[in-house]
Point group: C2
Chain length 353, copies 2
């Protein structure tokens, strides 16, 4: 490790002097009050993100001397969850806190910011968004949708899903009826899985009655709370279909433009803080859930690396197909893949046993 | 992926009503003004952390309506870097922004919070600090040192170091004279390396003149700026001696106790934000530096996994020895290792090819 010991520079003295002056100048005029109602996709009791959203809202209010009157609304209270994107776009709702990948019917490439198979791993994703062009491309894509999206937290990585038979090869997937949402379903369809994106409450009964043979749903904490261990024998990892789950605060552009730079900065800071802490809590909740499930006797399995690699190859094929049909998907996919190819070299070098 | 669609609950209505009332109540009395001079260990132009520290300071001031008058001072301006810990402890300086592992002569276990070999990987470290007991243990250990430490950013992972001959096995380390700081030096001493913790400016000339055969210094961006490629042929990875480098805002306890909960929260939030963004920028800077060094013809090498595993085994042996000689090191080491053993199981399950 190195420590730097530069002496105090002239610039530093100048900066310190300027700061000292700043500290004695009178308090500036208050920023204008802006109301921001936030339509939630996740309930405020949804772990771990619910508490982080509440905290983010409180931090924005505190940091802006309550001039940004942000208020969170439970899912469905302002607008149905499926309608949040349109409502924020039109301005009928000020803002939403969403897994932006739910709206791939509006903009297919949004999946790559939230819930796609084989996303970049965590630090690579943070690097791409904050300093690798990811946010810029998103800003461009959302221009026509009339909204700004701020990266504002993560859900824990998902598990691979619940199965009632062993799945040791791609062939073993063939013929399965499986609940799976998002673009992971496109991948499994290619290998003969009949997929259905059943809603939350419908998954357990379908799995228990054998209407479906398998179900991918969410991360271990959420899966545990759904009681899937009572309906399926094997719990598979890794969650290739959604390994990193960034969540976004989307704000109508006209509302966002009313904010001063200081108010915008307060939102960025509160969201950056939510990112760091939700990563941490998600890991702990998943770790504890897996331990409890193991203790209950769930047969926890891991796909062989070659099976996961085959799924990855199929995903890249599918993503390239999507890129060929949608210019914005292409733009996002290329930005993410280009960054990844560079950064993977560093990750490979830094890999520890 | 899953999406939750709970209806609005009675609790949610109650919370919304309470928030609405809150929004109309008059603004509370202003918090008392607290001056916090922060002694820097890294200059404000030190990438990537310098800019994040400046940003953190500005965010704390903005979020507290300038009642927390935090000011950053360049290294040496308030107190020599080696004296920051003592100065904050005694209260002669309010606060410091430090790699807390520099002060292992005061408290050996602090290395495990900043600059130890084979630290937990990034998300595991975040989880341990924020939700796995790491912060609590640190609070206990720092009690007698009369300070509070807030996790407030990270430097990029370090590289393994510069060598003038190939190092293919532990035997190849034997007899080397090497610049290496921190506890990594203890590990290399075990296998016959003669280590020296030369200061920044002394490393290049020593390496160039052959006074030393090898030098570990910092992350690729910093190493590049020191010009080591002009003095050594091989650049080795991974940086086993310091894979995660968390940085800390340490605040004298009496100063910290003057802060209201709102002011403390503003510091936590600004620091959480610095954590998320400095991770991201560190990755990008390292990636770019490695690419430039490669383009300049530096021979970039990677130790075989078995060599790194042997170093890891030696480190665990050394850490256990340190734990047997120092109760606080033991307490921290056990907390970190226990968390790691649990969380490693999840990481193994979630591993992607």
């Amino acid at each position: 490790m190195a420590f730097a010991f530069p002496g105090i520079s002239k610039l530093a003295v100048a900066v310190s002097t300027a700061l000292a002056l700043l500290a004695t100048t009178p308090v500036q005029a208050k920023d204008p009050t802006v109301n921001i109602k936030v339509a939630g996709m996740f309930g405020s009791n949804f772990k771990p993100i619910g508490a982080h959203v509440n905290d983010m809202v409180a931090n924005v209010r505190a940091a802006t001397d309550d001039t940004v009157k942000m208020r969170f609304f439970e899912p469905g209270a302002l607008v149905p969850v499926m309608g949040i994107f349109d409502a924020v776009s039109s301005g009928s709702v000020d803002a939403g806190f969403v897994g932006i990948g739910l709206y791939i019917n509006k903009e297919p490439g949004l999946a790559l910011y939230n819930a796609a198979p084989f996303t970049p791993e965590l630090s690579q994703f943070l690097a791409w968004i904050y300093y690798g062009g990811g946010q810029q491309v998103l800003d461009e894509v959302l221009e026509k949708h009339n909204m700004k999206a701020v990266f504002c937290g993560l859900l824990a990585p998902e598990a691979g899903g619940w199965f009632n038979k062993e799945v040791n090869s791609l062939d073993d997937f063939k013929g399965l009826k499986m609940r799976i949402g998002g673009l992971g379903a496109n991948v499994l369809e290619k290998i003969g899985v009949s997929t259905q994106a059943l809603g939350g409450g419908d998954v357990f009964p379908a799995l228990e009655r054998g209407v479906i043979d398998a179900a991918e749903f969410s991360n271990p904490g959420m899966d545990e709370s759904m009681g899937f261990d009572q309906a399926a024998k094997y719990y598979y990892f890794p969650g290739w279909q959604n390994p990193v789950s960034p969540e976004w605060l989307i704000i109508n552009k006209a509302v966002y433009n009313k904010l001063t730079d200081k108010q915008k900065k307060a939102i960025d800071v509160a969201c950056g803080n939510a990112v760091a802490r939700s990563i941490a809590e998600g890991e702990v909740l998943s770790m504890q859930a897996v331990e409890r499930l193991r203790a209950k006797g769930v047969d926890i399995r891991q796909w062989k690396p070659e099976v996961v690699q085959q799924l990855k190859d199929l995903w890249v094929e599918e993503a390239n197909r999507l890129a060929s049909t949608d210019p914005n998907f292409k733009k996002i996919w290329e930005s993410q893949q280009n960054f990844r190819q560079q950064h993977d070299k560093l990750m490979q070098l830094q890999k520890l046993p």
